[in-house]
Symmetry: C2
Subunit: 728 residues, 2 copies
């Protein structure tokens, strides 16, 4: 049991201070005379020998603890919702950029964040990074009794329960808020564990705002804290010791007691951590301020990152007298006559204003943040030399497949693109799944940056749910984010799910993109469209009515064909009915889709019959048919071997036919293709002779697989292929 | 005079080795017992105290010398031509990313590189970076007598003359090849100067290829070298000592003597450096291999970056016995049983294959390189906290102007965009200026990524010189590079100059882009076009003939109007003559430009008269006239206050008229605008009411400036503005 009450605590603190001082001098002396030790004989229960920073104090450089070579570093982050998931990824990018050690990330997440981050890390395939998930919702009851006014809500309190939530054999962990950015190797932070005394269990940086001084406004009554208190955006936790010390009971008692006189926490877990530390000051190991540079308005952060080089400086790593609470602080920066390490190691955007915080140097810190926000995450898939770790799941198989490719093969680029595992960030923006309805349809499409301007029109034409895959670089994803935020039309829609697939390789992975969007559709039916088409205004309602009327819900395997048209005019007024459409068609302002270049693609739809049709009618598959269809969500996936342009949709319709989907054309449905300049990809490859050869090779392989799968039934597709054909 | 010949050199080396060993032990002992010293009492002629790496040898981490706080670091790079200039920028980005010190870059350049890099650094405005240029062509005579087979050519030899070429008071400098990438703070490399003994003058990393062993092929006869020799991609030069030691005479003597028996240098300066070191081994300070990881095929680099952690390790910083030539090598990596620092600090792409080099870990190194290749250079405009330096030229003025902006002003974004100084990389790709011709015309235009597909068509329509400004991110600039490289049409053209203006801010700085392209046009006349227009196939020839015929060369101030048309059809066949154009116009397939939305813009061209015209005819300026014109290169610049869309060209034509340019319409000239989807910028701002208000405010300010400039003569423009007008 730990001593209780203020007088006893102060007495204990004084004693501890004395012990620490003695211990420090001994330790310091020992270090100063020590010779390099052989591996494994380090001083502190398994820690590597560390430089507590006493020796190099003459210039204002950080003590640079030696990062433990190849040691697995443990990091815990609490994350909930779409926006925090994006933040975590930026944090992780900054961590991965500088790291040289294998990492194990412990992510305490709600269902939304788990879904996003699980997909992301699975597809990211970063070597030497292990991920474990913990269900935040299960932990909620342990903290939900605490009234909390902080913007982070219930999740903000969850760091308190980490000692019990994380695996019992996990002895130490670095806990990070989602709004921090690394500017150096996390191993240097980890190495500070070696500075903990036997009693210390929590490593924290002093708070850089005046919050806990209690003088911010009249009747401002913060929770109790030692001096300025500590900030919990970056925590070093000795989980083993916390468990042994009865942490759970400890924090609950403290919180309960304080809540007798205080109405709620204002700063979530941080208030409770500080109240505990005030009571048991020997628990805390103060960390150098550079490990949590807190960029709020009104912060002392500047004292931390701007150095006071003209000042006489104490050797750090030990007490420097006069400020009892901060025993052993290596480099607190609130009091200038101290050594201040000159560069920030971790930036903490802990104001609710985040990047818009007022700080005269914020531009420089923002640049660092933007560096990682826009950093190509694919570049972090780099091996750790000299630290052998099991490869990420699937990586070995992928390596083998890639190694088998022949660089001299003319189709090398195609085959490599097919094998590329793209990083996928599903539901990049906040998204509310539609309430389940038995006949609901999601519009499924994919696009890249050059089609962004289609989104607003699409939203106006399709009031229902959409699942869209976007093929973007990390920097483009941020442009996209700003685009949606500044669009009144787009930001009003919560039923459009945007899934970012990160660019890699020269060919547009069209079918992989379609499959991502398709997999994320949440309604029983999907309308498989393309981004350059605008649907009839009535299409969403009409499709749902048709699905109901045709009783597709009863397991009937059908693909509803939505006839496609095109305009070659750049400015045109969209027909509000089938009658108007037919009038435009007759006037030559509209054409059936690809009428001039490739009529085979849609000929089986039978436009002549459609003109007159009053009811859905059956059509038969024919070679090269590529209609736009509505199908149940569990339809076959697109064949990812077709990358770039050509045959990507044709193959899917073959697959539907092979699986005996009925093809039913809807008499009132239509979509219209708008003109656009050819994409770079298409112009690059249309002119290439190898492109056509490779496409042929892929088609042949597709047919071989088809025969293997469907046997004799697949023969008709091969036969159809032998007939003379035009361009694809 | 330095001793000559092998036996004496070996004897001296052995003696030096012994002295070093003794010195090392003494030094080491001293350090181990030393307390932090006050500033300014460092051991080595002004060097900050450095950790020679002896203490932390028990784990395989680099010795991390303390970077000298705020010391100005000197770096020299030889750079010639367009491609090397791009390389230097990537190198500098990697250096700036990690640096914490002010830098002085000494760039030895040819005229092309100087032109590019001077513009770049002037517009980059990175704080605490000073640039000096040195004329490589003037240095040529000093090395041109040396026959050299290396791909770097004459410039590859220029590192030899740096001691005399650089300012006489410059005492030490880091010399870098253009093909290196930093992976850490250059101050740590600089700190290695402190490890130099009194005799050492050149810090080098051992060569990691077998080249100098002379066994690569039969009769392979490399230049003489100590053991494996040293690589000169990264050099620490004590210029002061080199000058005192009579460096110039020394290397010239050595080179002359070796060239008696060897036909030429194979590896440029590196052969000569190695020959000198072989002769005077005490001159060299071997550096840890991590400071120059040489990624050729067949290289020992892997031994350097992969660590041998299971090996018993010597304390580094001193000799480890047995290999005389490498005295004092802190961490040579060619012999495994040594301490190998585990992370690479500088990557050297020293194979002619560059990134395509065969190395099983090349992917990871390539990722690092790509990181900086695609890194947004604007983010490096960050201050060095705590190292006060004079700001870059113009920066203070800019800061003041920015500070005066009112964030609450609705036009804040416009005004900030106007003030933005964009980084400019002129002639991003190899470019041959056209031979001077008195009537030659350069097509001037600007574009962003979404118009790249126009370039091939434009090249087909305009066989003359072009000066194009591209508004791109750093990553897009690389995509653009690949786009040009893979295009047969574009890569065949050397008379098209591409100037990259790096993106910053939300509004398209259209007139700044036009001014960049205009300033770089090298012919006496310019055709001020827009990227969405295709010129008549005959236009280039016709314009030159017209200029000659109209005798514009004799100082006549005229703007030749090229009538503009548009097609709304996405696919159309370009008219090969005026007659064909008129037929299409009559058939309704073509229109005069913006006929439907904004006929005022081109009405003064008088299309009716043009139909019939056989000779150039005069037209008068009228409000909102914005024709496409051919003018002398010294025409007025575009007004950079007009950003985004609207009035940017109108204002320029007002300026032409105010300066009394004749407006002459050419009867056979025409350009046709192709349809395209609206750019993101235009759609974002067309819908914004503040956009129109701001544009109005800018126009008012433009007219005020006009009155100030031209007095009463400008009154007509204001009067014209008062008339009722349509949209702009």
């Amino acid at each position: 049991m730990l001593p209780r009450g203020r007088p006893r605590a102060l007495g204990a603190a004084a004693l501890l201070l004395l012990l620490l001082l003695i211990g420090f001098l001994l330790f310091r002396g020992d270090l100063d005379y020590e010779r390099p030790r052989p591996r494994g004989t380090a001083a502190f229960d398994g820690d590597p020998p560390a430089d507590p920073g006493g020796r190099n104090g003459s210039d204002c450089t950080p003590p640079r603890p030696r990062p433990p070579k190849c040691e697995l570093l443990q990091v815990a982050i609490v994350c909930a919702g779409h926006n925090s998931s994006r933040d975590v990824i930026t944090l992780v990018k900054s961590m991965l950029f500088y790291r040289k050690n294998p990492l194990h990330l412990h992510l305490v997440t709600d269902a939304v964040a788990r879904n996003i981050l699980e997909t992301l890390f699975h597809t990211w395939m970063v070597p030497a990074v292990r991920i474990s998930f913990y269900n935040a919702d299960e932990l909620k009851p342990q903290v939900s009794w605490i009234p909390n006014k902080h913007y982070s809500g219930l999740y903000g309190l969850m760091k308190l329960v980490l000692p019990s939530a994380l695996p019992p054999d996990l002895a130490r962990v670095i806990v990070l808020d989602t709004d921090v950015t690394f500017a150096s190797n996390i191993a240097e932070l980890w190495a500070l564990f070696a500075h903990f005394s036997d009693k210390q269990v929590i490593g924290l940086v002093e708070n850089q705002s005046d919050w806990y001084l209690g003088n911010l406004w009249r009747n401002h009554r913060p929770w109790p804290a030692l001096g300025r208190g500590f900030n919990t955006g970056v925590i070093l936790l000795r989980l083993d010791r916390l468990r042994r010390a009865g942490w759970e009971q400890m924090w609950k008692l403290t919180a309960t007691r304080e809540l007798l006189t205080l109405p709620a926490t204002s700063l979530a877990d941080q208030d409770i951590f500080n109240a505990i530390i005030k009571e048991h000051p020997w628990l805390v190991r103060p960390l150098p301020c550079v490990w949590n540079v807190q960029l709020s308005d009104h912060t002392l952060a500047e004292r931390c990152y701007s150095e006071a080089s003209d000042l006489k400086v104490n050797g750090a790593g030990g007490p420097s007298g006069g400020d009892g609470p901060r025993m052993g602080t290596p480099a607190p920066c609130s009091h200038p006559p101290r050594r201040c390490p000159p560069w920030s190691q971790v930036i903490h955007w802990n104001s609710p204003k985040k990047l818009r915080v007022k700080n005269k140097h914020v531009e420089s810190f923002r640049n660092l943040y933007l560096t990682f926000l826009e950093y190509d995450g694919n570049l972090l898939r780099r091996e750790l030399f000299g630290c052998p770790r099991p490869p990420p799941p699937g990586a070995e198989q992928l390596q083998r497949a890639l190694a088998q490719l022949d660089e001299e093969d003319a189709c090398f680029e195609f085959r490599r693109q097919q094998l590329t595992v793209h990083r996928v960030h599903i539901t990049f923006l906040p998204h509310k799944p539609p309430p389940p309805q038995p006949h609901d349809v999601t519009l499924v499409a994919q696009l890249s940056m050059d089609r962004l301007q289609m989104l607003e029109a699409l939203c106006r034409h399709w009031p229902g749910p959409m699942s869209l895959a976007l093929y973007l670089t990390d920097a483009e994803a941020q442009q996209f984010l700003r685009f949606v935020e500044t669009s009144v039309v787009l930001s009003a829609r919560q039923d459009v799910a945007y899934h970012v697939v990160y660019r890699e390789g020269p060919l547009y992975p069209i079918n992989q993109l379609r499959n991502v969007a398709l997999a994320q559709a949440l309604t029983p039916y999907v309308f498989l469209s393309d981004i350059d088409f605008l649907p009839a205004y009535s299409l969403y309602d009409y499709l749902r009515a048709s699905i109901k009327q045709l009783e597709l819900g009863s397991g009937r395997k059908a693909a509803l064909v939505v006839p496609a048209f095109e305009t070659l005019h750049y400015r045109f007024s969209f027909p509000s009915s089938k009658a108007e459409l037919l009038a435009l068609l007759d006037a030559g302002s509209l054409h059936t889709f690809r009428y001039h270049e490739w009529p085979r693609g849609h000929a089986p739809t039978d436009y002549a019959r459609w003109r007159e049709a009053q009811a859905p009618y059956h059509v038969q598959w024919a070679a090269d048919y590529e209609p736009y269809v509505v199908v149940p969500r569990d339809c076959p996936r697109y064949d990812p071997r077709f990358v770039g342009f050509g045959w990507n949709k044709v193959a899917h319709v073959v697959e539907l036919d092979a699986q005996e989907y009925e093809l039913l054309v809807l008499p009132e449905a239509f979509i219209i293709h708008l003109p656009h300049a050819p994409s770079l990809d298409i112009s690059r490859f249309r002119s290439s002779p190898t492109y056509r050869d490779c496409l042929q090779a892929l088609k042949d392989e597709f047919h071989q697989d088809l025969s293997r799968h469907y046997g004799a039934a697949a023969l008709k597709y091969l036969t159809a292929l032998q007939q003379p054909r035009g361009p694809t």
